[in-house]
Symmetry: C2
Subunit: 514 residues, 2 copies
Amino acid sequence: MAKLSRRNMLKMSMVGALALGGINANAALNEKDVKFDEEYDVIVIGSGFAGSMATLQALKRGKKVLMVEKMGRAGGNSVINAGNMAVPNNEFQKAAGITDNKDAFIADCLKDGLNLNHVDLLSVIYDRSNEAFTYLKSLGVEFSGKVISSSGHSLKRAVQAKNASGSGYIGPMHKAIEANTNAVIKKRTKFDDFVLDDSGRVVGVKCRENYKFDGNLQSDDKENTSGEPKCFKAKDGVILAAGGYSSDKWFRVQQVPVLKTNIDTVSQPGATAGALLATLKIGANPLHLSWIQLNPYTNPTEKGFGTSALFSNHCANDYGLTVNPKTGKRFMNEHAGRKVKSDAIFKCMAESANNDNYPVNICDQAAVDLNNPLYTSKGVEAGSIKKFDTLEELAKAYNIPLEPFLKTVADFNGYVKAEKDPEFGKPLSKKDVNSIDVSKAPFYACETTPKILYCMGGVQINTKAQVINAQTWEPIPGLYAAGEITGGVHGASRLGTMSMADCMVFGMIAGENI
Amino acid sequence: MAKLSRRNMLKMSMVGALALGGINANAALNEKDVKFDEEYDVIVIGSGFAGSMATLQALKRGKKVLMVEKMGRAGGNSVINAGNMAVPNNEFQKAAGITDNKDAFIADCLKDGLNLNHVDLLSVIYDRSNEAFTYLKSLGVEFSGKVISSSGHSLKRAVQAKNASGSGYIGPMHKAIEANTNAVIKKRTKFDDFVLDDSGRVVGVKCRENYKFDGNLQSDDKENTSGEPKCFKAKDGVILAAGGYSSDKWFRVQQVPVLKTNIDTVSQPGATAGALLATLKIGANPLHLSWIQLNPYTNPTEKGFGTSALFSNHCANDYGLTVNPKTGKRFMNEHAGRKVKSDAIFKCMAESANNDNYPVNICDQAAVDLNNPLYTSKGVEAGSIKKFDTLEELAKAYNIPLEPFLKTVADFNGYVKAEKDPEFGKPLSKKDVNSIDVSKAPFYACETTPKILYCMGGVQINTKAQVINAQTWEPIPGLYAAGEITGGVHGASRLGTMSMADCMVFGMIAGENI
């Protein structure tokens, strides 16, 4: 009863559209209609890479920061990310004798991005990711010390977490945030709407505390009325870092109707469109919302990201080959960007009536040894990656016709030796990608199918991470954004390792500028 | 002075964000803050095909309708449209012995639309376009009596205006509207924002009368403060039919950055994003905004749509061939959809350093005779289409290497005879597309380059033409939309003749349902 009374009091302190829970379908709130429960300098929505970096930078400047996270655990999709970050000109790249350059970096991104990318934002990432990397090291993030390649990049330019996971970053970042007395982290606290002043400036947010996310609902954003409404004032403004909508079944299928056809996602269930939609209502410019990326490295026998995706990506696709089990032949450039490969894999799958002619990613022991051993050991343990003493056994296990398969591998090994793939144009120059042949037993193999990974689309930002109003072309005063909730950086298709670079750099910039 | 006083009084009757002119950047207006100047049952924003059809249907039901149009002339892009409308199962199609079917219709649209299309909306267009066509005939719209083919369609299914222009429809439609005493048309009246009640229902609009559109401004929507603010009540609701944003230089380049590179548009200058953006602020779901279509039929020597596009589309592409002037060879399926062809033409153009290796569209007298004579005579007169007695003269005029060119034409004529194009898969079955060879002098030719034509993206509607709120998944009460301002129907790329079908059918449905 006491709790109910408190709720009723809260309700009475807020008027109009600000109901107990659920959606304020019409407009943002006006500060005149709101009684703020707490006051901060900066409010950050989301606790992944972008939100954490923004928080840390704002704290560095002495700001009092509230970070809100609707889920029960911090880190969003970032904490289940692979932990590889594009950092042009990083120390490991230099040590490997590789010279990066901005034109090549931008050209790589534009190629898979189909020229939809906002080049001014890519330019900032090129210029400042090394600074973000240096700062992360100072927090104690541990790196493998290697520079690694990633599909679509013409050069090796990514650093990788020692533990092969985004948790290797989120851990030290959140430790630093928690150690700062100016920081407040509220988990299970859902952002519902912005509070504006009469001039249109973002001056706070309406949230619900003690929110219980319910993944069993058709739409948590729409149906979940749990939690107690609170309004928080943000004196300097709000940083939006709430991520993408790849787990939002309704919204993603409106944008891309074919995504309803039993396609799994690798994202955490909280990756929904609610925060994005609240931002569109205050005039933010929506960019590229119908570009939703599939991960071509995931396994059809497992749910979600599974245990083999890093093997498929970095061992098999980088150093091995992929064959169509029906023909025993290759059918794509294994180093192409994600969209090209996903399209090719879907076409291969469709060669069987049940849409299950899954391609097989293959490499040898040398490829495994060139990568983090965890990339392979987890999948071998779980059974998603299989290990064979001979190519003959491998072919038998996946019903691949032996003779054409052996010819395919022999041809491929010839291409590696010649450093040129005349069939599909996979880059094999030893200088750039350190290519190796498939000859050192044991051999490893894994089936592959695309799953929903990442939303390229989101709100438009400028190079200062300010959210742009589509009608005025000016920043929405008091509102910044970074990471997957923004659009424009990646155009039609994001390259691997570019999400971390985007989140870290624009999170940093948002925290610096707010 | 008298005028200024009146303006000041108007200003005083509206509070807050409702300034004299310009943008209300934050939120829609609340009816409590507004004094309505006039009252109608239905307000229609836009006066093109969709708006006119919606108005006529609402008038038929006895509604008092206000149609607002920001420009000085009615008809928007519709009145400069080619006047061809896809009407599956129309009388001319039946008379030609062609049997249409819904699966083929939807498959045609999905192919060029890259499966992004909302199939439920396509299904409605298939079911009801014949009804719209019959109604248009009853208004006195004159048709050529032919069923015509259009690129991307597997069957001939389009009707065409006798005068080869959208004005052949807009004329009789507006005559009928003007004759109805329940109709008020206000030209030079710009829609700025919606007026909502406390429940979020659209109950009116804020406009500016005596608006002077200024095409010389960087952005008319943003900078033009002309006109006198008025608020109009819409008792039953508002129908949004304000068209696309292909003349909106800022908005389109945010969505598709490459469109800044000197690419012309065929749209009228008033085709801007203002009305769309006002609708996003009240929660409408934005679909496919970054899909902007180019018209592959336009001429590089002229501004805008010019005098040769209908020739290139319906004479040369339907019945002839297109060659690369550098090689004398064909390089695309001339009957492919607009995106496929625009991409191929840009690639051809890029074979010269100045990006001006323009492909040449070619056909013969028989192709010209199969079409409306105006398609060709206007361009011949203007000089954009050239006429030659021999293929040799044609080759010389465009610097096409003669021998390969003559071989290309001979090969093509052989394909027509065999009813199969083994090179590029152009449909040549006499049954479906009535193919002819290129042999009957004189010959006609015309250079081609893509120009910005159409915006596939817009707000989401359901099959009742109700605008969908992205947060509630429900219709926004009191708000309907039809035509180019909606998204979803055409997916990634609209087929020719489908714009008219979309506008007419969903305009009709909006007027029926409001």
